[in-house]
């Protein structure tokens, strides 16, 4: 009988001449691809996910990971994943799971947008020598500033500013719960956020006591599972986020199986050890927009109106109207997670076929809020496939106040976007709770890499601003005049509010 009728995706190979039998590959592989055969390393290539941990830790460069040359017969209609998933379903009767954002080749509109630059009529600004400001505040802004006469005839600020999240640069780390990622991965995000003057987000898994010291750089999340939520938790960070949906799995919930709930996670989530941590698809106290308002204000009451409340939604077809409702319901921040957004685990049928990309959603939401004259009432965070500072700049020009980085941040920790987060075997110690794997991720060391990334992106953003002849990020925010579309049809251009290149 056969092992499986689905083909292995990769072939792990060891050059027997170069191999010194040090067994580092065996120790490093979280998927047990390698084992010791007495005189040589044995390879179970069915298990290989091409995460490259073994490759980087092989001192002799003896390992190569190849795409499996054995393929199903080429067929433009029946592609590899169609056949493989179908066979897996035939094997198990289950729903194929996947991790990270969709890898399907839908067009990425960021790649069809180009940014303006100054030549002569307006000068560019030298970003290295002249001031360039990226500071961003997230939260509700009053429509206007008011003063009142104080004693002695001096005018005094009358406007009370609603609470804001202060970011030194328009980046935040996307919500990723303890459970979906390791505590060390969360610590890495927290250390970097503090050092950079930005924020990370707990996700829905509660707040571990080790993360408490970073509370002024943390958004705490309230999702349908309400894990770890109590008044202390709500007040622990700089803002509270209500999670309605996620770009990778709009409209569905999730569950962290009981076998992945050891003591520490159970404590953080405030549930018994070994029980399933179920996040229902809806929040059962939100069946309407009025209910959302009720929860927003319940949180504002519980935090004495000192924290902005963010509402995170997946980008879906009617996102503009939904976002408008969310703002009218009192949210201070709308977090829009696009179709390509990441996940720790999602059914691939959902991830690859539901929702809309962030570019369309962001453009539609920003424009709708402006048409309704309420754009100042809430900040917009754009997420779901921000791969570079260029993507960030384009998102900001389309109307985002800040962008959220999930996958990009994990890549600095060693992630290769292998998409197997849901297995809990991450060799890099990121999306796993196995202590022998998580110990590999030293938060201090990897935070440095993450800080490097954000510094580099900030420099790049400043270069872009300088080329645009402006020296503050708010002069790019929503400035679609500075974008042009290449090869986009007129409907898409219309939705993006962008002119075609050459016009």
């Amino acid at each position: 009988m056969f092992k499986s009728l689905s083909l292995p995706e990769f072939l792990a190979k060891i050059d027997p001449v170069k191999c010194i039998k040090c067994k580092r590959c065996i120790n490093n592989c979280g998927w047990s691809v390698y084992s010791w055969g007495g005189d040589k390393v044995l390879i179970d290539t069915f298990k290989c996910v091409n995460c490259l941990r073994c490759y980087h830790y092989c001192p002799e460069e003896a390992i190569t990971i190849l795409d499996n040359p054995v393929k199903y017969r080429k067929n433009a209609n029946w592609g590899y994943y169609n056949i493989r998933n179908l066979k897996k379903q035939a094997d198990t009767g289950g729903i194929p799971l996947t991790g990270m954002g969709s890898d399907m080749p839908y067009p990425v509109l960021f790649d069809s947008l180009l940014i303006d630059a100054c030549q002569v009529t307006n000068p560019s600004i030298d970003p290295l020598r002249e001031p360039m400001e990226l500071r961003t505040y997230l939260g509700k802004k009053p429509a206007k500033l008011e003063f009142e006469k104080a004693k002695g005839g001096k005018s005094k600020l009358k406007t009370k500013m609603p609470p804001q999240i202060k970011l030194e640069m328009p980046f935040i780390f996307a919500p990723m719960s303890y459970g979906s990622i390791s505590l060390n991965a969360q610590k890495t995000l927290a250390i970097a956020a503090k050092e950079l003057g930005i924020v990370m987000n707990t996700g829905e898994g509660g707040l571990h006591e080790d993360i408490y010291p970073y509370r002024s750089n943390i958004i705490v999340q309230v999702a349908s599972g309400r894990f770890g939520v109590n008044p202390d938790y709500l007040n622990a960070g700089v803002a509270v986020e209500i999670k309605i949906g996620q770009g990778a799995k709009p409209g569905i919930g999730g569950h962290l199986p009981g076998e992945k709930i050891p003591l520490d996670i159970a404590k953080t989530r405030m549930i018994p050890v070994g029980t399933d941590a179920i996040s229902p698809a809806p929040q059962h106290d939100i069946y309407s927009i009025e209910d959302l308002r009720q929860l927003i204000y319940a949180i504002k009451e519980a935090t004495n109106y000192t924290k902005p409340v963010s509402v995170k939604i997946a980008a879906v077809h009617n996102v503009a109207a939904i976002a408008s409702g969310i703002v009218r319901a009192g949210a201070d921040i709308v977090y829009i997670d696009g179709f390509r957004g990441g996940t720790g685990a999602a059914p691939s049928v959902i991830r690859d076929h539901l929702g809309i990309p962030i570019e369309h959603a962001l453009a539609a939401v920003d424009e709708r809020l402006r048409q309704e004259g309420i754009r100042n009432e809430a900040s917009i965070i754009a997420a779901g496939g921000i791969r570079s500072s260029a993507d960030a700049a384009k998102a900001i020009a389309l109307g985002a106040d800040a962008v959220a980085l999930g996958t990009s941040a994990l890549i600095t920790m060693g992630c290769t976007v292998c998409g197997k987060c849901y297995t809990g075997n991450c060799s890099w110690g990121i999306t796993t709770q196995r202590p022998e794997l998580t110990v590999r991720l030293d938060p201090e060391v990897y935070a440095e890499r993450l800080i490097n990334l954000i510094h580099a992106w900030s420099h790049e953003l400043k270069e872009i601003l300088g080329a645009l002849g402006v020296n503050a990020i708010e002069s790019l925010r929503g400035s679609r005049e500075r974008l042009r579309g290449v090869g986009l049809d007129s409907h898409t251009l219309d939705i993006l509010g962008v002119k075609p290149a050459g016009r």
Binding site: C118, T121, N122, P123, I125, E130, P131, E133, R135, Y137, K141, P142, A143, K144, L145, E146, F147, S155, K156, L157, T159, M161, Q164, R370, G373, R375, N376, L468, G469, V470, N471, A472, E474, S475, L476, R477, G478, S479, R480, E481, R482
Partner: protein, 270 residues
């Protein structure tokens, strides 16, 4: 509109001047609940955006705009400028930056009693425009300078900011400097930047903002365009170059260059 034939100005649009008053009965207006000024602004926007080929150059009670395509001296003669008296004058000649010169696109840009002349380019035009559109302004004149006029109208007339605060919002101090301010001022400036971020005028500019009670000169926050001010007796002069001031006042008592973003606010003595 009284004009005269001038050699060098072969073609001019049909120029009409009306002395009008908003309908006194508000109920007879297209939108009943608007104040006079808002009604005038709305009507100007409507004409500019909806009537093909028609533009309002000037809509003030105590302000006139004379503008066109041609040599400045010719334009002045064309409009018989010598027949007018005024207590504030702004003059401007423009190298059309990004668009061919056209009569509506010449400076000043005016609305009600506000007038703007501008040297430079507003690199933040894209977001300034979208910000203003949220408040019902329609930007139809194909030029960046238009936003300045409307921003002043929004901030000063509709939001009630004093002129100095409005200038500070439009050419705001850097965060670095705000962070060093005493607490009260820091709070005020932080709020100002948060609320008026989309109104921040970025890019190189020096601007003269005239209104019925005074004149304001200011430039961008890193001084990418020049501005010189001078006084003699009770008269104040401002220009991009000192020699321009000397041309009409050969020996001013005081001449200075204002710092970046620091407005020179001149109030009329009544």
């Amino acid at each position: 509109m009284p004009t005269t034939q001038v050699e060098g100005i072969a073609i001019s649009p049909l120029l009409w001047r009306y002395f009008v008053k908003p309908l006194t009965e508000k109920s007879e207006r297209e939108v009943a609940n608007l104040e006079d000024d808002d009604f005038v602004v709305r009507t100007v926007m409507k004409i500019n955006s909806e009537i093909d080929g028609a533009y309002v150059f000037s809509s003030g009670k105590n302000m006139g705009a004379f503008k066109g395509v041609g040599n400045p001296g010719e334009i002045a003669r064309f409009f018989k400028i010598e027949e007018y008296d005024g207590y504030i004058w702004t003059g401007h000649t423009r190298f059309p930056t990004n668009t061919p010169g056209w009569w509506g696109g010449a400076h000043p840009f005016t609305l009600l009693d506000w007038s703007i002349v501008h040297n430079g380019e507003i690199s933040s035009y894209g977001i300034n425009k979208r910000y203003l559109e949220m408040y019902g302004y329609k930007l139809t004149l194909l030029t960046d300078t238009e936003v300045v006029t409307y921003l002043f109208d929004l901030l000063v007339r509709r939001h009630g900011l004093d002129i100095e605060t409005a200038c500070t919002a439009l050419a705001a101090p850097f965060w670095k400097n705000i962070d060093d301010m005493p607490n009260d001022e820091k709070e005020e400036m932080t709020a100002l930047r948060m609320i008026y971020g989309s109104a921040l005028m970025n890019g190189p500019f020096s601007i003269l903002f005239g209104h019925s009670k005074g004149l304001v000169g200011f430039n961008d926050r890193i001084k990418l365009r020049p501005l010189v001010a001078a006084t003699k007796g009770k008269t104040v002069y401002m220009a991009s170059e000192e020699s321009a001031i000397r041309e009409i006042c050969s020996s001013p008592e005081k001449v200075w260059s204002p710092r970046a973003g620091e407005p020179v606010i001149v109030e009329l003595e009544i």
